[in-house]
Subunit: 235 residues, 2 copies
Amino acid sequence: MATGTLFGVGTGPGDPELMTRRAWRLIEAARIIAYPAPDTGESFARAIASDAIADDAIEIPMVVPMRTGRAPAQSIYDEAASAISEHLDAGSNVVVLCEGDPLFYGSFMYLLARLKDSYDVEIVPGVTSLTACAAAHAHPLVARNDVLTILPGPLDDLVLAERIATAEAIAIMKIGRHMPRLKALFSRLGLADRALYVSHASLGYQRNLRLQDAPNEAPYFSMILLYKGDDPWIR
Amino acid sequence: MATGTLFGVGTGPGDPELMTRRAWRLIEAARIIAYPAPDTGESFARAIASDAIADDAIEIPMVVPMRTGRAPAQSIYDEAASAISEHLDAGSNVVVLCEGDPLFYGSFMYLLARLKDSYDVEIVPGVTSLTACAAAHAHPLVARNDVLTILPGPLDDLVLAERIATAEAIAIMKIGRHMPRLKALFSRLGLADRALYVSHASLGYQRNLRLQDAPNEAPYFSMILLYKGDDPWIR
């Protein structure tokens, strides 16, 4: 018997209307659906896709505590990969929901690492928070022959400052508790008044502000965008 | 009378199934549609969206010669903005089709610059070639707290080498005629055997190869991806 296919499906940044048509159709047809979930509360990936999920689909939540060391996370992905393998071995396809895009800062790669050598895999790319945040401000993310550098907020100030210096366009992701430090860094670099802030891009409660007006309490799903060129609007 | 809204709508990388649900619906409902077009042949953005375009929609092709100086391009966007303004002033919405995402290396920004201060604007983000190319290889684009740097291929070797040195993940866009030089650069840096190549991501004639096996004749719509970390598959 043929084994099933593993689908890594990007759900986009949050608005279900920003799911791709292929993602929507695959999820509607899916009999077995896996997704990351927090230890308390709702899975964001599942919430985005919920209107497409069949009532009788088998669901495999992968409960990953928000703050965890590497060892427990490893065992969580081992267990999820094992549960998914059983369905694939039985010839069923499995759809794994991934916030944004599966291969852009996603935890899907941990499943992929465990399953890619044994099963057929198809990745359905999704709209990332990167372009959703630029859309929120209707401001160019990057243009012409500019360099765009994407930086995780937890990196050291020194690393961030060096990388910011060598790109025309910058996006800082995974902000959360790093916000006060990042605001201070942008001020020291003289860039605070030009940087933009977005949280919860594409959702009803999206906030888009200039960085200097942004709250110090920022969620994990927020971003700082900066266009450093002289004029992003050069015609 | 209220003026219309300007919609900048990402069509995704090429496969119409990778258009978002919102993009599809907006295009289906659009009475006036603008898009970039080459001086000969079909508009790629229009081709992606063609099944959603109503037969009686008014179409505004913006014919931008592939090789042009700044001055003729300026006048082309001036004229397109003027044609679009007439419809917006008459209270009609206008949908502008954008390959990939409107704000990610897109020519939409030239229209946006001309129209943003006078009209309501909504940007509909799209799947970029960046994540579509990673999907083609089912290989992580960027993970954990890695730095991702996106580099246009026309940049100098020296600039490219410096930026490649300071990021864990790299994507090189707009390759085209720069391919032989870029392959030589990756070889000199000792990175040729680890880099991946994709052309025409998500289309039926997509090619995904290792860079060292890629043809020297590369289309403009092709990309080099490199994950420099020790192991993109760390579990």
